[in-house]
């Protein structure tokens, strides 16, 4: 209830025992268990902000609506609960697009609310008008425009239900400002049912039987674990299955933390920048069990040469994922946790010592290791040290680029829901606001954002949100003066023509390692000075020996803290499977 001292629309409604649309919305959000609300007010959503005033929900003022979407996303990824974000009409709505598609591609449950111009103005090119439902349609799981205040409560209830059931995803609700002000007597709908949407968690028994048969017959089974395992909370069940049937485990970027990294069955990360052992195991196994993964093109490489001799079981809650890129022998449509529970219970216990030894051989042949004797600071070393000093127990968010891949390789999370990264859409700038969102949900945890100098600049203004709200995030900017991943591709595939990827003011002067002298260049902006402007401290480091001290200082700080790790622009991410190549063409390292 509003506790505003001046008589507002909300209060006027209260006096008559009726509720405004905005009050109904806030009441519905509270009943759904919403704790935080990330967004920016504007003309077309002021009644909502008025109704939020004094509510139990913490209103977080972000500095850009995109930041709000990623905060809601980080909140959702780190808790499994629905994140809520808001923008006003027009630009407020269009600024949500990237964040909503980011969540949609990674199946993250969000509810996004936008104000809309008054009903009678819709379609008139009114001030701050955008066709929000038209814009949001392809970037959300579902979306609504509320045209009658009597539909509002049911719509909000449906939105939360749809966002978090089946294959989760973002749902958008557009609410014209007159609907926010309209008053009705209202009761909260306890139960809802959507006639055309009945997601089922349990798979068909015949599909499970078939999968069990295949697992029992396999000599070289491999578990390929994806983000769906994190979303469904299937870690304990996957562990049981892997142990009982003695199956080695590889995982995607999205499933960092889903399987214990120090377990003997753990092989590791696969895909374009994954481990030699994991990718080779994909190619050589005779049974590939996909658990909540979707055979993304960054995992399969060229489909025609992908894991040709294996039979494939595909466990996925979304039937549209099955057979989409790779034909499968056994489709199991259902929630990963529910399916794997059954599999673990019913498969025969087995041992595959020869297969396990083979995988181990690949691991020993090309382990993921940091090169010794480097004179410059190594990004992998920074991340490895962070892992050591936080015991793998921090919540880690990343932007998109080289630093993301190094983090994936060297920060294996102790538990699921702790690795926040934009896997599907690859949204630069995701990291910092996502980390902040996670900090709101997990105030007692250590939250770290590992970012690139290019990626971080995309959502840097949210530093103000961090300071304003007193939420600490450790930021490690891996600064290589370039859009590093772009530069890596230009170096390897575009004859070292570094077009549009240099972030310094010196242009081509520092394109080569020979020209590169740490500290001897003009980099705009100075990240430490940026942090200083927000009242935050920082450490700029140049050598491996400085890493431990810097991380310890950051961990001890009571506010957000920057470690700027100055690395050579020549640092590259390996292994690498070039775009358009198959998993057998993996480049382990450049001589």
């Amino acid at each position: 209830m509003s506790k505003a001292e001046n008589k507002t629309v909300s209060e006027a409604a209260e006096a008559t025992n009726l509720k405004t649309g905005a009050q109904i919305l806030v009441d519905c959000l509270e009943r759904e268990g919403v704790t935080h609300f990330f967004g920016i007010p504007g003309g077309a959503c002021l009644p909502i902000y008025d109704a939020l005033y004094g509510s139990k929900i913490q209103v977080v003022l972000t500095r850009h609506e995109q930041g709000g979407t990623h905060m809601a996303d980080g909140y959702a990824r780190s808790t499994g609960r629905v994140g809520v974000c808001l923008g006003t009409s027009g630009p407020g709505a269009t600024n949500l697009v990237t964040g909503l598609l980011t969540a949609h591609m990674d199946s993250i449950p969000l509810v996004a609310i936008t104000g809309q111009v008054a009903s009678h103005l819709i379609g008139n090119d009114a001030f701050q008008e955008a066709d929000a439902t038209g814009v949001m349609r392809p970037v959300t799981k579902h979306n609504y425009m509320v045209k009658d205040v009597r539909d509002l409560a049911r719509t909000v209830r449906e939105a939360f239900y749809i966002a978090q059931t089946g294959r989760p995803g973002p749902v958008h609700i557009d609410i014209p400002v007159d609907i926010q002000k309209a008053k009705i007597a209202y009761t909260w709908p306890e139960k809802i049912s959507v006639r055309s949407y009945k997601p089922k968690a349990e798979a068909k028994p015949s599909q499970i039987d078939e999968a069990i048969e295949l697992i029992n017959q396999a000599k070289k089974p491999l578990l390929y674990v994806g983000g769906g395992s994190v979303l469904s909370g299937a870690s304990a069940e996957l562990l049981k299955l892997a142990e009982k049937a003695d199956i080695p485990v590889v995982h995607t970027l999205m499933a960092n933390g889903a399987f214990p990294f120090d377990h003997p069955n753990y092989v590791g990360i696969l895909g374009m920048h994954g481990k030699y052992s994991a990718n080779t195991a994909m190619q050589k196994c005779d049974l590939l069990i996909s658990a909540g993964a979707r055979f993304d093109d960054r995992v399969t490489g060229t489909v025609s040469t992908f894991s040709r001799q294996s039979k494939k079981i595909h466990i996925d809650i979304d039937p549209a994922n099955i057979g989409k890129t790779v034909p499968v022998d056994c489709a199991v449509v259902g929630d990963v946790k529910s399916v794997v529970t059954e599999l673990a219970k019913r498969v025969k216990a087995a041992k595959h010592p020869e297969w396990r030894a083979e995988v181990k051989g690949w691991e020993e042949k090309h382990p993921l290791a940091i090169k010794e004797g480097s004179k410059t600071l190594q990004p992998q070393f920074v991340i490895q040290e962070l892992h050591r000093l936080t015991k793998g127990e921090a919540i880690v968010a990343t932007g998109v680029g080289q630093h993301q891949m190094w983090t994936m390789q060297f920060y294996q999370c102790r538990s699921p829901k702790n690795f926040l990264t934009s896997g599907g859409l690859g949204t630069m700038g995701f990291g910092f606001p996502a980390a902040l969102g996670a900090k709101f949900a997990n105030p007692d945890r250590t939250v770290v954002c590992i970012d690139g100098d290019g990626s971080f600049q995309m959502t840097m203004p949210e530093l103000a949100t961090s300071v304003h709200e007193g939420k600490k995030v450790i930021v490690i900017v891996i600064n290589n003066y370039f859009l590093g991943m772009v530069r890596q591709w230009q170096e390897l595939f575009y004859k070292e023509r570094y077009s549009g990827s240099n972030l310094t003011t010196k242009g081509s002067d520092i394109e080569r390692a020979g020209d590169f002298k740490v500290g001897d260049f003009d980099y705009i902006p100075s990240f430490p000075k940026i942090f200083e402007a927000y009242g935050l401290k920082s450490r700029r480091i140049f050598k491996n020996e400085e890493v431990e001290g810097a991380i310890k200082e950051a961990l001890a700080s009571d506010k957000s803290f920057l470690i700027e790790a100055m690395i050579s622009p020549e640092e590259k991410v390996f292994p690498m499977i070039p775009a358009g190549a198959g998993l057998d063409d993996i480049i382990v390292d450049m001589a």
Binding site: R137, K141, R195, Y197, A320
Partner: protein, 176 residues
Amino acid sequence: MPDNIGRHTISVLVENRFGVLARISGLFSARGYNIDSLSVGTTDDPEISRMTIVVRGDQRILEQVVKQLNKLIDIIKVTDYEQTPHLERDLVLVKVTADKSSRSELIQICDIFRAKIVDVAVDSIIIEMTGDEEKIEALLRMLRPFGVKETCRTGIVAMARGAKGISVAEIEKVMA
């Protein structure tokens, strides 16, 4: 035509709400697919509409589109008639140049096609005919020499042969 390109007639039962058509057409347009024919009308339940979509394209991509159609929240049931014996009907209105000298020949053609003349003017007539695509194409071929001034088609509607029906009552039984 390459082997994997096929013509699909897809029937979709949807909630009768604004935005549903845009959701459906978006799945085709996002893949650069043109819809050859589309017809929409309510069913015996006014809350539910039925759409019939005819589209040509790569088998795998269309399979994916059908799966994505099934995922849309407002969609109740999707049926691809490609493998099912079914009827297709399209209604066409054709305005043809017709004067004293050609009118009787046009009437004969209409008789053969079981088409109706629904409007007559001094120098033109409007012909109405129902049939599948081939029959309509055949009629138009016959009429072109007379001078086709205008055509308008409703788009194809389709229904499977046999006793099995698509209705919300039956679907709700299955989904419950």
